[in-house]
Symmetry: D2
Subunit: 357 residues, 4 copies
C-alpha cells in the first residue's frame, strides 16, 4: 500500500506532517496529485480546537493539482489534466443542490439539506494538505485550469476568492454602489475585488495594517477607515455625507465588525456577512431601526462546484483581478508545520502561504 | 375656518377626540374626506408613549375615503372619487423611491434616504383618524377603489395586508415552500394569506389563541403549533421531518419569535421579519450556524404608493383572499376612545376595528 | 433475457407496442417498473415525424412507478419505493446544471451545455411508455411520491405541470398581475393554475373549446376570450381598459398565438413562451415597439430534477391545485395504439390519457 | 419675451437653428441653462423623418447645464447648481414608475403606462439643443454634477451610457460571463464598458471600423469579430469553443445583428436588445431552438431619473470607466447644422459631438 505525506490533525494545537495511505477512490471519485495548496483561517480554527474535526483527519480544502486517476463512472476528464476543485464540493444531486443552495448539500439526509454540508475536504473527509486527495463527485467538482495560468495564479479560487466575491454577489452590489468592507484579511481583500468587479464605485476598506491596505488599494478600495483613528461608524458616515453605504461586507467574524457593518447601512441597505463567528451576536435596537429599516442581513458559505471554479479562473485569466499579491510566503509540504506556525500567529506580514508537495 | 373631529395624541396614555381645523392643502396634495379607518398596533405604541410623536398630532395611517379637493397640480383624479392611500406615502421622486426602496423615502435629506421616512401619516404629519386628512404627493399615493368593493373590504390594504404580504414577498416564498408564521395577529394572518398567494404549500402558524387560529385556517395555514403545548422549534422540526422551513415570517417583534424563526430555518432559508421590536436582539451562535448557514434575514416596512394599493385591491376584488374576518368590531369616530380602550387591551377577541366618521 | 412491452417508434406515423428486453442499469441508474404514464403532444410530433428520434426507440417521458432495482452507487432510495421522475432528467453535474440551467444539460459536451440536452426519455434514450424504464442519474431524478397521493394525482407532474407552472414562474408573475394565457390545452391549463398559484388576480384565457374553458374556470381564469368571437388583441385590450397584460403566456407554438401574446403586453410586460414551434416566427415592428418597449420574451423547457418534482407533488398534496380533471381517458398499455389514435386526433374531448401497464 | 437659440425640426431633412422664446416653467419644473449637449442617433432618425415629431419642436435629449430657475414647488435644489437630467424623464408618480418600469411612464393615461412614455425631451416636449430647456418633474430628474467632473465627462450619462450599461444590466451579465456586443457605435461601446463593469471576463466586439475597435479595446473588449472577415456566428462559436455566449447585446437595430445575437447564445443565454429597429424582425426556427432553448430576449429603453444619473456620474468620478474618447468633435450651438451634417453622415470618424451654446 503506497504511502504519502499529509498534514494531519492530532489534537488541539497539533497538526503534524505524517504518512498515510494514498486514498482509494470509488466510481464517482477522482484522485488528484496535489501540486499546490494553501492554509486557510478555518484550518487555524481547527488547529486551535475551536472547530472540531476527527483526530487523524488530513486537513486542508484548497486543492490545485493533476488528475492521477479517475473513478470508473467519471466522464469528461482525463488523467494528467491540471485541475482545481472548490473548498466546497457539492454532489450536484441533493435537494439543496437542485434548488440553488449547493453549499448546504445534504446528501444522505432524508430531505437533502445539511448546514455546511457541502464542506467536506478537511472537515468530514480527508483534505488536501497532502500529496494526494480524493475528490468526491468528481464530475461536479473538477475544473480544468486554463493553460496559461500557473498554480499560484489559481490558488485563491477554491476558497477565498469564491468566498470574498460571494460577499459582493449575495450583497447585491450593483453599478454605482458605495460598499464598505470590514477587515482586509484575505477574504476581505477578495470582497473588495468582487465589489469592484460588480460595479461598486466607492469602496471603503476598514483595517489598520499598512500592508493589507496597500494590497486593498491595488484591488480597488477608494477610501481607508482606520479603526485606530477614531469611531469607524462616524468616519464612514462622514465619508458618505451622512447617507451610509448600500452594502457592508463583514469579513472577520466579530461583534464589532458585524455591528459596525449594520450601523453604516443606508436605509434599505444590505449587510453581507462572510465571517466565521465564535460567539453569540447582539443586535442593538437602534442599529436595527427596530425592524423597520428594510435592511437585509445575508450570510454566505463559500460557493463551490466546477462551474464556479471555471468562472473564477476566467476572471484571473482575463486579467480583471490579480490576487497574486496575497501570496506572501511559500513552503514545501515538508515544512508545513513551520507554515502553520507562521500563519497561525500572523507573523512577518503573512497573508496567504503557498504549499507545494 | 371649518373644524373637524380628530383623534389627537395629547400625552402618554391619552389619545382624545378633539376639534381641529380641516387641513389646508398645497398644490401637490389632496384632501380626503375619511369614510373608514382603523387602529393599528403602532397607534397603541404611540398611545403608550413607546413611539414618540408630537403632542397635538392627529394619529392614524389607514385612510379610506372620498376626494374632497385636489391641489392645483394634481392630475389624473377627480373630486368625489373613492380612494385609499397607503400607510406609507412615498413621494415618488426621492433617490430612495427611484432605486426601489420607497418606504425609506428621504425627501428633504441631502441624499434622498431616511429610515422609515416614507411613513408620514400620524407620524410626522396629521393622520387619518379624523373627518379629513391631507394626502401629500397625491399623484403617487391616491388609489381609486374598484366599484364593487366596500370600504371595509379594502380597509386592510393600506397597512396590514401590504405589510403581511411583504413578509412573504421579501422572504422570497415560492412554489412548494414550507413557511412558518410566528404570531397570528392581524399582520401574521395577512402574512399567511400572502404566503399562500405566492405558492407556499405547507404553512405552519404559531399561536395559541383559538379565534386567531380559526381565521388562520381560513386564510391558509395547514398546521398549528401552539407555543403553550411545548417547544415551538421542536414541534416545527418534527412537522417538517427534521428539514426546517424555507421561510420563517416573524410577525410580533420579540426575541422569542425572532429566535424561534431563525432556529427553524432549513440551511439556506430566509427569516422575514415584520415585527416592530422594542428591545435589542440576541443571535445565538448555533442558531446562526456561526455565519455559515447561507441564511438571510430581511426586514420590511409596509410598502405603499398607489400601484401597491391598486394591486392589493385587485387581490380583494379577485376573491383570492378574504380578509374581512379580521374586522371584529365597529365604532363611530365619536367613540374612538372606546375603540382604543378595547383594542389596546385586546379585549373581547378584537382583531381589527373599523372606525367610521 | 426478460422481455417487456414497450411503445416503440418504427417510422413516421407508426408507434407500435412491441417486446423489448427489460433495460440493464449502470451504477448511477435506477430501474423503474412503470405503474402509470401518459402521452404528450411532443409524442404526437414524434409520431408524425415532425420531431426526429431513432427508429426502435421507446417513446414517452412521464414516468410514475416503483423502484425495481437501484444501481450500485445510488444512495438515499430503496427498492419498492413509489417514485416519479421528471420528463427532463438533468445529471446535476454539468456546467448547465451548476449554473441554474439544468434543462440544457450538456453532459458529454466539452463545455457542459446542450440545447434541450436535459430531455432524454423518449428522445435520446428509451422512454417510459413501457413496463420498465431506466432512469439515468437516479440520485438527481427520483422523487418519492407522498403516501396519500395516487398515481393519477401525480401523473401531470413530470411534464405538463412543470412546464405550465414555469410559464408563470419565468414570466415573473407576481401579486396583482393581469395574465393572459394563449391556448388552453393541457400546458395552458397548467399555466393558468401556475399563474393563479403565484398571485395573479386577473387571468384571461384564450380558446374556443367549451370543455377546456370549463376546466380553465376551475383552475383560475377570470375571463375568456374566444378567438372565434372577434379579434383577440382587441378583446384583451378592452378587458384591461387599454392597459394590456403584465404577462402573456403562449402555450401553443404558432405565429398567431406568439404575435397575439406580444401585442397584448403592457409596456414593460413579459411574453412567456411555452409552445414548441414548427415554423419561423415574425415580429412586427409595431408589436415590438421598435425595440423600445422594455418587453421581455422568455422561452422555457420543462424544468426537471427531484426537487422540482417534490415541490409539484407538494402542491398537489396541499390541495392548492387539482389537475385531475385533465385526465379524460384511461387505457391499458396493451391498448396504447388506440390511445395514440384518440389523442393524436384530439377526438372525444380528450385532454390527457392515463396509461397503465 | 426673452428669446433663445434652439435647433428646431422643420420638416424631413431640415433641422435648423432658430429663435424661440425661453420656456416658461410650472411649479414642478426647472429651467436649465444648457452648457453642453450632444446629438444622438435618434435625432438623426427625426431629421430623416423616420421618427415623427411635431414641426417646430426643439430637438435633443441630453442636457448638461446650470439651474436657472426652479418651480415654486421644487425643493432640494438651488439656482446656479450644475446638473444633468436623463434623456428619459420619469415623473416618479405614475403606476409604471411605481412598479419599476419608469421608462414607460404613462402619466395622463388612465392606467399609468405608455410605451416610450418616459421619453419627453425632443419627442413630446421641447428638447435641449438650445440655450435653455424646461425639465419636467424636476425633483425626480435633476441630478447635481460632482464638483470635479467637467461637462464633457458627464455628457454621455443622460443617454448612451445609461442605455449601453442597461444592455449589460438587463441582460443579467454576471461574474465570468462571455458577452458579445453586436456593433460598436456609441451605444455598443457603452455596452462593452457596462459588461466589463459587471464582471464579464470575455467580451467579444463585432464591428469593422478600426477607430471604434480601438476605443472598444480601451473600454474592455477581449476579442474582435470583423463581419467583413467571415461569418460572424461561426467566428464567435469558434472563439467560444462551440459553447456560445452567455449574453449577446444587440446595439444597432437590424435583422442581421438581431439574428446573429440570437444564434450565438449558449442554451439558456440572453439576447439583450438595445437597437431601435425600423423594420419587422424574423426569428428563424432553428435559431430559436423551436422555443425550447430557455432563451430570453430583453429590450430596454434608456433608464432615466436622478438616481440613475447620480450612479452613472459616480462611475465616471471613480475612474472605473472613461468614455471621454467617444467625443470626437466639438461645435458651438451656432454651428449645430454643421454638426448634424457631419454626424448624420458619419463623416470624419465621428462618434459623438459636443455642442456648447
Amino acid at each position: 500500500m503506497a504511502l504519502m505525506k499529509a498534514a494531519v490533525f492530532i489534537e488541539k494545537n497539533r497538526i503534524v506532517l505524517d504518512e498515510k495511505p494514498i486514498p482509494n477512490i470509488g466510481p464517482l471519485d477522482a484522485l488528484i496529485r496535489i501540486t499546490s495548496t494553501t492554509i486557510c483561517g478555518t484550518d487555524v480554527h481547527i488547529l486551535r480546537g475551536e472547530y472540531l474535526v476527527a483526530k487523524g483527519l488530513t486537513v486542508g480544502h484548497e486543492p490545485v493539482g493533476v488528475i492521477e486517476k479517475l473513478g470508473s463512472q467519471v466522464q469528461g476528464f482525463h488523467e494528467g489534466q491540471r485541475v482545481i476543485a472548490g473548498a466546497i464540493t457539492p454532489s450536484g444531486h441533493s435537494n439543496a443542490c437542485l434548488c440553488g443552495c449547493a453549499s448546504q448539500d445534504g446528501v444522505g439526509t432524508p430531505h437533502g439539506f445539511k448546514a455546511i454540508g457541502g464542506w467536506k475536504f478537511g472537515n468530514i473527509i480527508d483534505g488536501c494538505q497532502a500529496e494526494y486527495v480524493r475528490v468526491p463527485d468528481a464530475m461536479a467538482n473538477l475544473s480544468p485550469i486554463p493553460d496559461p495560468l500557473s498554480d499560484e495564479q489559481v490558488l485563491m479560487c477554491p476558497d477565498i476568492m469564491s468566498t470574498g466575491f460571494s460577499g459582493a454577489e449575495r450583497g447585491g452590489v450593483t453599478v454605482g454602489d458605495t460598499v464598505a468592507v470590514f477587515a482586509l484579511g484575505p477574504i476581505g481583500l477578495c470582497a473588495v475585488a468582487g465589489a469592484r468587479l460588480l460595479g461598486a464605485t466607492t469602496i471603503i476598506g476598514v483595517d489598520t495594517v499598512a500592508a493589507r491596505i496597500g494590497v486593498a488599494r491595488r484591488l480597488g478600495i477608494d477610501h481607508v477607515v482606520d479603526f485606530k483613528q477614531g469611531n469607524v461608524v462616524e468616519q464612514i458616515m462622514t465619508l458618505t455625507g451622512g447617507r451610509g453605504v448600500d452594502v457592508a461586507i463583514e469579513a472577520l467574524g466579530t461583534q464589532a465588525t458585524f455591528e459596525g457593518a449594520l450601523r453604516v447601512l443606508r436605509p434599505g441597505g444590505t449587510l453581507s456577512s462572510l465571517g466565521v463567528y465564535s460567539a453569540d451576536l447582539h443586535i442593538p435596537l437602534g442599529a436595527f431601526a427596530a425592524g423597520l429599516g428594510d435592511y437585509r442581513i445575508v450570510t454566505t458559505l463559500c460557493p463551490g462546484g466546477k462551474e464556479r471554479m471555471r468562472r473564477l479562473m476566467a476572471v484571473i485569466a482575463s486579467g480583471r483581478v490579480d490576487v497574486s499579491p496575497l501570496v506572501t510566503h511559500r513552503f514545501r509540504l515538508d515544512d508545513i508545520e513551520a507554515a502553520y506556525a507562521l500563519f497561525a500567529n500572523q507573523r512577518d506580514g503573512v497573508m496567504k502561504v503557498a504549499i507545494t508537495p
